[in-house]
Amino acid sequence: MPEDLNWAVGGEAGDGIDSTGKIFAQALSRAGRHVFTSKDFASRIRGGYTAYKVRTSVDRVESVVDRLDILIALTERTVDENLDELHEDSIIIYDGERTMMKDFEAPGETTGLDVPLKALAEDAGGAIMRNIVALGAACAVTGFNIEYLDESLEKRFGDKGEAIVENNKKAARLGAEYVEEEFDLTTPYDLETTDNDYVLLNGDEAIGMGAIAGGCRFYAGYPITPATDVMEYMKGRVENYGGVVVQAEDELSAINMALGAARAGARSMTATSGPGIDLMTETFGLIATSETPLVICNVMRSGPSTGMPTKQEQGDLNAMLYGGHGEVPRFVLAPTTIAECFHKTVEAFNLAEKYQLPVYLTADLSLAVTEQTFEPDEFDMDAVEIDRGKVVDEDNIDEWTNEKGQFKPHALTDDGISPRSFPGTTDGAHMSTGLEHDELGRRTEDTEMRVKQVEKRDRKVETAREREDFDYREFGNEDADTLVISWGSNEGPMLEAIDFLEEDDIDVRFLSVPYIFPRPDLSEEIEAADETIVVECNATGQFADLVEHDALSRVKRINKYNGVRFNADELAEDIKAELGETTEVEA
């Protein structure tokens, strides 16, 4: 029996693929199984192939694999798209009465189960529930207790009233009964359940949750895939804590609103994706020069320009590191797991306020839209600490005023960090500007002051390096000759790739780096290894460039930029190829 089950529902956009997948994923999570989902969606609202894949196991799952066990196919194309992943034990659930599936024949050794999804749904109260019938059928095929499905139907439709919930439960049962009665099936699938209570969420949601927990009270944004979920999550929740979400007229406005709120003393954030980052770059320099703490979340998608809006890429590193005219320090944090999206968001706010600079928090599309199960206490709210940095009040503001009693928001300090006075603070009134300024914040072109202010701002980076732990996460065999480094969502597939490689007696040491700037110095690790391979989802190897630069050493690169995330077996093969290990060609 396979240890994990790979399940998918696919059809046309508008077929309710997303909610179908989500309901099943939630049921599995409620049943104490780990879940990892992935979405394949086109950038259109109706029409176009979309699929929702769920991988589930009693152990933690971190990535997708290219094997599909159960497929609910609402269109022929769903089968075509996934042909490579089907195997002899695969089961395809379809509705032979559906026009698109009329002449369907299950390919190869796979089993096709023709279930009259629509007709059964109508029996239960409405054709719209045909997806739920299919879910019931899938439960029967996998020996999965249908009561868990009930729970997630209650969660999904509870607001719509008891009758709707009951109809859906009935639809699921009709699907299950049909399979049990009509087919003489013996499948190798038998989904074990546990008593664990997991939570199931995606990276965008984790970022939104981290923002609220981390004290963010002001959010301004302009909708863009795949960052919109952050805004939608916060809207309706942050208000409970006295905050607000403003949908701005564009990204220029969004970031300026966020800047205004930050200057007014709120923890403030905006989130966007590539094209929005370009627009925000104008104000980015102002944020940095005026030393305003702000978190700018960039949920990366495939670029350049509008590129492939619903596809994976990690191509914006250079834009975040170097974007904008002139030179200003900024931090770039890149969580590597969904749980880390939460923690790094909290950290991003602390770093922004402690060092009074803009912090880019970046997740790639795969991390943002993928859902995964976690133990609830991986989001330990008690461990959240909020550090607002050097904020002055009426009592100590005197220490930071000049002989005329004027407050010095850009005071030259040894650690590069100046005091902050929130508007409303008596005697704290001061000017902030994008112009080069003196300690009072007033415009200056004095050459000495210019140099001092530039150095003061840069000094914050050194201070942060001394005070913070810009570390990496380590996996695999510490003594291995091969070192693999990655950032962002590649951690998941890489963790499983390590297992695949071990099966072939290949040991690797794997470092997953959540800090792009400031970042850990990896020179020693690279020196200790025979080979270093940097894995990332872009064409040019932007992170690999940084690693080479830091370590003064050449690294090998594995780059993927077709819009699809790495999967574990593929990554293992790529690493073998880089190491010159030839893979046996299958006969």
Binding site: M209, F218, V246, A262, A264, M431
Partner: protein, 289 residues
């Protein structure tokens, strides 16, 4: 807020570098008077300024202030006010800043109706970049970038504001200092977005829209014999669309307006947050069961 605040308390000790005679001196003095008269003090006031000669105003005033990037002052002001509704927020900039590069933000700020005051120093020219035409320049106006006339119609900022659902639309003239200060004061006192277009002549680059021109052209809608009712939308519309005259005073005011921050339920400054996650934060996690 203390009652002994004088308008000079809003003055910084920086000497303005505006050309002698620039209309912006009068505009700024009126703003400071209006702020003091409405019981504000520098520590509860936030001035956001654009880029341009006009945008330097934040430097010459004393308050919490931000001098931002060109055209984006209104969104900054919106953020400030939403994050701390206790602050008096005043946004100031030029006609280029507000109606050209920032025109989009202008329309949306008006429509959102955040409780702040927006003062535009309209000199119908780009001052800081040394004399190119601006969006309010006349159609036949000759400048360094329009040697044979602009060939572009001027925008009508008041009409834009009215069309966008403005709740307080006014115009003033910087050298009529008494009236100008009064009008800004009314804008501050208005609950919602108070918009004042101020004729603020550029003595260096604009020899058409001069003090003399405005002095002759201006009609005060507040004059008794003029008899204008600012709550009368149609009357306001007629005045605004009449481009043959220059009107000063409160042209339109909707007293029933409620600021965006209030409609969004923002009542407290967002400055005070707990040292850790909110007490019930685990509920946020449990939602994902």
């Amino acid at each position: 807020m203390s009652s002994d605040i004088r308008f000079t308390d809003f003055k910084s000790d920086k000497q303005p570098t505006w050309c002698p005679g620039c209309g912006d001196f009068g505009t700024m003095n009126g703003m400071m008077k209006a702020l003091a008269n409405t019981g504000n003090d520098p520590d509860n006031t936030f001035v956001v300024a654009g880029i341009g000669c006009s945008g330097k105003i934040g430097t010459y005033m004393h308050s919490y202030a931000l001098h931002g990037v060109h055209g984006r002052a209104l969104p900054v002001g919106t953020g400030v006010k939403m994050a701390n509704p206790d602050l008096e927020v005043m946004v100031a900039g030029g006609d280029g800043d507000g109606y050209s590069i920032g025109a989009g933000h202008f329309v949306h700020a008006v429509r959102r109706n955040v409780d702040m005051t927006y003062v535009v120093m309209d000199n119908r020219i780009y001052g800081l970049t040394k004399g190119q035409f601006s969006p309010t320049s006349r159609e036949d106006f000759e400048t360094s970038t329009s040697p044979d006339g602009t060939h572009q119609q001027p925008v009508n900022p008041l009409a834009l504001a009215l069309a966008a659902g403005g709740t307080f639309i006014a115009q003033s003239f910087s050298s009529d200092s008494q009236r100008h200060a009064e009008i800004v004061q009314e804008a501050i006192e208005h609950d919602g977005f108070g918009f004042v277009n101020v004729y603020s002549p550029c003595v260096t680059f604009n020899d058409v829209d001069t003090y003399d021109y405005f002095r002759d052209a201006i009609v005060d809608v507040g004059d008794e014999d003029f008899d204008h009712d600012p709550s009368d939308y149609d009357a306001a519309k007629d005045l605004i669309l009449d481009r043959d005259k220059e009107y000063q005073g409160v042209i339109y005011q909707d007293d029933s307006s409620v600021g965006f921050e209030e409609r969004e339920g923002v009542t407290e400054p967002m400055t005070d947050i707990p040292d850790g996650a909110p007490d019930d934060a685990m509920d946020l996690v449990r939602e994902f069961y």
